[in-house]
């Protein structure tokens, strides 16, 4: 019996990522953002999601990738966490894929340490690889200061 898993997918700097689709609350186009001075660099700011205040994390900064082109507004992938919803800012949203969870392989050791920390494994798709994001680790706050 294979373990079917649904993934919500997105692109960050042309890398194809997937997260457990059941953890995704919604996907939104770019939202007005209130920056928070003194916050850690990956925290882009706060958005008002129907009266709920949601912290937005820039996935490029979180994954130590180059900065996003300012002319291309990011997409919000709002995910559930223990401390309420958090929005992940990604370049572009992809399809929802249903894959066999058993097919996932560990990430090669040669990948950047930060990226390897936040990725649980790789799915080999026909045309590309999909890195599966470890949501818990990704949204965990890095110490301020």
């Amino acid at each position: 019996m294979s373990t079917e898993q649904m993934y919500a997918t997105f692109y960050v700097e042309d890398i194809f990522f997937g997260v457990n689709a059941l953890m995704v609350q919604e996907v939104l186009r770019s939202q007005p953002m209130t920056p928070v001075p003194l916050a850690p660099p990956e925290v882009t700011g706060l958005i008002n999601l129907r009266g709920q205040i949601v912290t937005a994390l820039d996935m490029r900064r979180r994954l130590h990738l180059p900065e996003r082109d300012a002319s291309k507004p990011p997409t919000n992938v709002v995910v559930y966490t223990d401390d309420g919803p958090v929005s992940l800012l990604v370049d572009e949203i992809g399809d929802v894929l249903v894959l066999n969870g058993d097919d996932m392989e560990p990430l090669p050791e040669t990948v950047d340490r930060v990226q390897r920390d936040l990725v649980v494994g790789v799915h080999k798709l026909d045309r590309q690889l999909m890195l599966v994001i470890d949501l818990d680790k990704t949204v965990r706050p890095t110490p301020v200061g």
């Binding site: 209130t34 001075p37 003194l38 008002n48 706050p141 301020v144």
Partner: protein, 773 residues
Amino acid sequence: MEDMDEVVQEFLVESRENLDRLDREFVELENDPTSRPLLASIFRTIHTIKGTAGFLGFDKLQSVTHVGENLLSLLRDGSLGVTSERTSTLLRMVDAIRAMLDLISDHGTDGDEPYLELIEELTAHCQGAGKRGSAYAEAAAPVVPVVEALADHEPAVVPLSADPVVAEPDPAPVAPEAPVAEATPVVPVTEPASVAPRADADHPKANEHAGEHVRSGGGDTSIRVDVKLLDQLMNLVGELVLARNQILQFAGQQEDPALAATSQQLNLITTELQEGVMKTRMQPIGSVWSKFPRVVRDLAVSCGKKVRIEMEGEETELDRTILEAIKDPLTHVVRNSVDHGIEEPQRRLEAGKPAEGTLRLRAYHDGGQVVIEISDDGGGVNCDKVRRKAIDRGIITQQQAAKMTEREVAHLIFEPGFSTAEKVSNISGRGVGMDVVKTNVEKIGGSVDVQSVQGRGMTLTVKIPLTLAIIPALIVSVHGHRYAIPQVNLVELIRVERTETSRGIEFVGDAPVFRLRGRLLPIVWLAEILGLPAERETAAQNVVVIQADDRQFGLVVDRISDTEEIVVKPLGPHFKGIEAFAGTTIMGDGTVALILDVLGIARQGALVSEERHRRGSEDEAVHERRDRESQTVLVCMAAGQRVAIPLALVSRLEEFPRNMIEKAAGKEVVQYRGRLLQLVSLASFLGLYADHGYSDGHERALQVLVYNENDRAFGLVVDEIVDVMDADFSAVEHSDRPGVPFSAVIGRRVTYLVDVDTLIRSTIDGQMAMSSF
């Protein structure tokens, strides 16, 4: 199974509530050992718990309550008298029941602890009844110790114990209304005056309460609601308030009368709904206080003291989140008062006070705030002891201590790491005390003050906001982003402009200050606090004067907008450790704004200045040794000479236009704060030629340092105020100039240290030629 859980839950909630009441009733019972309504109510509570525990299969709980019930029924029937020993045992039983309830709520069982000792003790008390004589004798005899304690108040307790009502059996212990009705002819619960005049005079509230519980069984006008649901409702109302704000803003832009009318309607309803929902979260402060009689009793017994607790305003309501937040601080204060404040009976008698100390709790509303006063008639703050302790602990220096007023000394108890308890007791005196109380109260936007009269007692006043969820706030902006400052922290708004007459923001060393009515107000740029570039050089600055703790500071912002009711929302975990923000809110246009934490900003500001201080000291070799000899001085120029005056001696810095100078009795004075301020030229005093700016061609205003001695004030006129610095007085050289006994190198330059005492003395003696300014 689901149903069973619900039954257990209900049992837990109900029992806990009843137990809280029991604590209070037991303490009341000690004051009024023959009160049958009290005994009946206590008996009923235990009986109910026993019954339900048996039904739910909690055997241990049942066996403990069973013996307890036996003892209580004997007490109620009057076959046994209430003694403090018996009360203690029964209170221990209450604790045991509580512990078992906790186990049930955590693990679903009442645990393995059989409480054999407790059961034995309870049984032993019961057996006492059989061996001893008649019910009357038994009832009267043990009461005596209690009566002795209260002898000066109430000699009438003994005869009362023989009152027929005691012996009268109570046939209907479970019916809530019955005892009241039955007892009315002899013991009207709501008017206990006829039975115990003392109790009535001293505990009017307490008795009212006793009456309330007995009545409480009757009404069904209230229902139990899960707190979570209320919180959820409050959140929704918060959302609604925001949506309302947005609609109002939108409606304001349209010219549609129907829309305007509807949105107005929406506005009113929302406001009313908000008030209504907020009311549902309100709880009387009595729900926290109800634990105190027991706490005080236990503590007083263990310290060998006699303490009576009085409460006023228990019905004062507070938002439950706030209530939750002040519970521990208040308990701590109460414990502190009993442990440190109220003296032993012997010492009280020696001091001419009644042996029994009084602890008074008072709560009332005052202008959108709730004021809670905790006062005792104990020894008050021992100023000498506090001073000594504070010096020992390095909190203040000897010189500072000498200058502090009694009030300032009393406030030292709020300093971290301060405790005056001679011996560390298990109650308090571990050095974590009042400072924690202060921080906790401030965390919820409150303040703490203390008034103390040595030997007579002290009063601690806690002021807290009614609610935390929706607060009025001032909206300011920096770099195009809006920030909210809670209204409670605001003092005033000022616009500082640099003009001919005003200097605007000045710098004392590196530290920006503004002269606000003669006082130096430290200035902080919000942008700098937030790590953004600040424009320090603009001609006009908007300054928000803020009260943080016991000091004020000016916060410079780009723009000051309006005040608004904002809904406070917490900041997520990514922002832990950022001191500058207290939370977030959503503005009328839907954007998110951050709420500033003024205490955090003040702390951050102080940190900056500390660092600056350290840097400064490294620069200057003289400052390397910062010991007791070092002192903060105000460096100024007088006739081209650098002079220094201890900063502590200068109460204010003032500027007076020259035309304000008047002559009175051959002295030059200015009218200052309704009094005459005599001016003394520092230059003339030093025997130097006083210029004071005449050579500049125009008349500059006089720079005056106001010096207070006893009730006289003098104005020392100087040319210019240079800086505030730390001077090392161990490296001074004697000088031969009169009035300046020493010179020192301060800030790399030779500076004369002014002997202000001699200066003032010679001024008073009139020895000094007062030259013109």
